[in-house]
Symmetry: C2
Amino acid sequence: MTDFYAEHRETLDRALETIRTRTYWSPYPEHPKAYGEDAPGEGRAAFEARLGAPFALDQPASGGMLVPDEASPYGLELGITYPRAGVDELVAAAETAMGPWAKATPEVRAGVLLELLARLAARSFEMAEAVMHTTGQSFLMAFQAGGPHALDRGLEALAYAYREQTSVPRSVIWEKPQGKRPPLVVSKEWRIRPRGVAVTIGVSTFPTWNGYPGIFASLATGNPVIVKPHPATILPLAIFVEIAREVLAEAGFDPNLVTLAVDTRAEPITRELVLHPAVGIVDYTGGPEFGRWLEEHVRHAAVFTEKAGVNSVIVDSAEDLGAVFRNLSVSTTMYSGQMCTSPQDVFVPADGVRVGDEVVAFEAVARGLADAIAGLLADDARACEILGAIKDPEAVAARIEAAAAAGEVLLESREITHPAFPEATVRTPVVVAVDAADRDAYAREFFGPVVLVVRTASTDESIERARAAALDEGAITWLAYTTDPAVEQRIVEAAVDAGVGVAFNLTGGLFVNQSAAFSDFHVTGANPAGNASLTDTAFVANRFRFVGIRRQ
Amino acid sequence: MTDFYAEHRETLDRALETIRTRTYWSPYPEHPKAYGEDAPGEGRAAFEARLGAPFALDQPASGGMLVPDEASPYGLELGITYPRAGVDELVAAAETAMGPWAKATPEVRAGVLLELLARLAARSFEMAEAVMHTTGQSFLMAFQAGGPHALDRGLEALAYAYREQTSVPRSVIWEKPQGKRPPLVVSKEWRIRPRGVAVTIGVSTFPTWNGYPGIFASLATGNPVIVKPHPATILPLAIFVEIAREVLAEAGFDPNLVTLAVDTRAEPITRELVLHPAVGIVDYTGGPEFGRWLEEHVRHAAVFTEKAGVNSVIVDSAEDLGAVFRNLSVSTTMYSGQMCTSPQDVFVPADGVRVGDEVVAFEAVARGLADAIAGLLADDARACEILGAIKDPEAVAARIEAAAAAGEVLLESREITHPAFPEATVRTPVVVAVDAADRDAYAREFFGPVVLVVRTASTDESIERARAAALDEGAITWLAYTTDPAVEQRIVEAAVDAGVGVAFNLTGGLFVNQSAAFSDFHVTGANPAGNASLTDTAFVANRFRFVGIRRQ
């Protein structure tokens, strides 16, 4: 059997170093060209071969093949069916598979999982097609966020899990002096006791990026994982399950350490699955309502949630308002606001924004942003590359309408026909000016292409409104523009209090939506946007326990 | 202001090293003589000065002075009254106090807390008297477990909390290459965001040993702590609160970072307190019933529980049965079985125990253990030093009776008149032989002086019964005697599966009840005996969050 640990040890060591230094690093290239000339075509062919066919997985599947609610936002006919299993058989298979995996060393588990990451990396083009055509992301975003960036997040979680497991020595001789008598000598040893069957509940928009951290953290600490994809976005995680099972079997472990649990909106199985008494861990990314249900009802397992919230931009002052608009126009339109990190509320004081010696009036700021967005999306083909397609068109249309009704529309949402995929729903954002006094207009999430410019009495009110929205509804990102150090200080205090990461004065190539593995914590766990963070120690430490053995 | 961090840095560094090496170390001497000739008398005088008087604390206390349910197991008239506060005023005071403490660096907080530990260490004799006369422990146990060993546990939690907070750099320059373009350069900074008001719910038997870990972990990570002692054991934690407030004020912080919340059995306030929405952390040590209630009902806060369980001894084979009995007779009688680590069920195969080439019959083993206990406790004065006094005499008497009724009594429980404290309830354990088939007879906790010798068909049945009892009812310790490596291996596997620490073949000066700070994990968190471990990373990592600040 290949010694995967030895083979990949340098990657793990570098990951361990980087979670400590938090500098830039990635072992998985984000540039498609790095994968060779043939990779795009091979990936596309592999993806196309899956269309209209049953997805074969040699796992428990007493329910036959399921015809899913999986429709491509680009209008491609997917037609893939998936093996359907009962909750009890999945859990039983996971429990059976667990033993030897739980007893393996952290090094052996890490080696197998590093090999899995490497195999997944080699399949990044196939994964990109799968992510693009199930989520509606543009190809480049699907490639990066679905492939290398997701693998970075998986490796990061693996590194945290490995570090934590090896923070206690395997054994030690403990010697306590006893005055004149001989010392008390005890030989001690510690074993790792995984928590139990893990369930990962996938999200419809970033199935791998949000799914890998929990999956790799659970596997690395000895737990089997049942992967339950979103009913409308199954293929990317099914491909993950297929590759994971291959690597596990090749390494001599039971492939049922990773299984797929599929369901439909009409016949959901998630509640039954997570309430199974053998389940010890639940990872969830998705809407706030079901996230809250999990937090309230799953008492017997560790529950890690990443929900959503109201992300805010606070505009106080700037050196170059044009640069502000350029950055904001990208961050508010990227994937049509369908990222849990997309900014939604842009707080601007009624008195305007100081730019050098001038003050630019609220109306001019709001108009400037709307114009920048309109300009960025003026060309339909380019707009499609930025916006991607809408994942859930009916719900998004309703939100655009509700947002438009809440204030003064500065820019209408526009439907665009995608040049390559005429069936896709592509919509530019609606930009609406609302008043801070009208809390209902902005202090809730409009997931999708909605930008709200909120008129406040002052920057202090902007800060207070953003803070309250974060504490009440959750928030994952804040972006602030100010040239005043005292204002910056107040924003930092509010962000820490509200438990929201904050970025200042982004005007270049960094966008607030982007969160870098090994460096940025995604979600803090300190407001209703989620109870966990990708990835901190708390995300891994509760997935296993140390059991001590003493011998005299 | 004194730089407490600089003053105590070596102690912290050594603690950080020891939680990694897990070798023996303690900065607080466990030998009373190490504290000087005057210390015992001064401690006794300080304790006596508190009797029959109001306990003065300059903290919120709108409810006047409370006459508590605090009665000494030794019969001493305590007569101390405590300031009584409403839940809302305690929480409000804690929230007000939190700000500057939360913003202080981990070093500043650690320095203040190390100074607090040093001040507490200097008061160990006063604390010993308080612990002895509220819990019923013997003086030596009260001194060691209530003083230095409790301080070790507090320092251990502080070290874990410090390590975790400093695992992420304060700031870094993150630089991502951009091919031919200039690199993306982002300045990043991370702030610590404490979770919120912490509540520590004290236990009646080891108030400081079990209380300090949560208290120090919460304080070290920036949270204020409301200390809610057991209604029948208030004084030790009240003394802690008094000293903590002095040190905090001296260091320039609001003393309301640590407050005392007292109540009575008739008018309990714990539920109201922990359900307050501002509470972010709850630490609990105590009975399983209320622990389960906390785990099920407190959804908005992180809940750490240490409950209790059925601790087992598995006797398979031994080199010297006399040595086994000597060790077991101490561990089963120490503080009358009122330790959550005390062994209760001694599983012995019906066919007997192999000793060298001989097999000693079940009856002889059971009789040998009973005789060893009787012999150890034959002298009343010596027995009183070992047994201490019974904390909750009615409940314990009922349990002794119930245990006696469940099988064949091998040794009757005997009441002893304490030579120094005639009012004290002192009882030797009842030793009862029961059958493994009678699950109700042994698979539940008889907290107090009860030893059950359980007849099984074989060692494999012993293991299986102990495993099932641990998984169903919880267990904190296992002790096993075997000379057979294959049996030892099976016991280790079962212990890991059941999430119970196991000690093998203790025949000398180490007793299974003892758990050493910086080395042994107390409770694993992996069975119903508790959901947390003293102290692992999971015990501290969830008490705060990192919030990132990015600047371009």
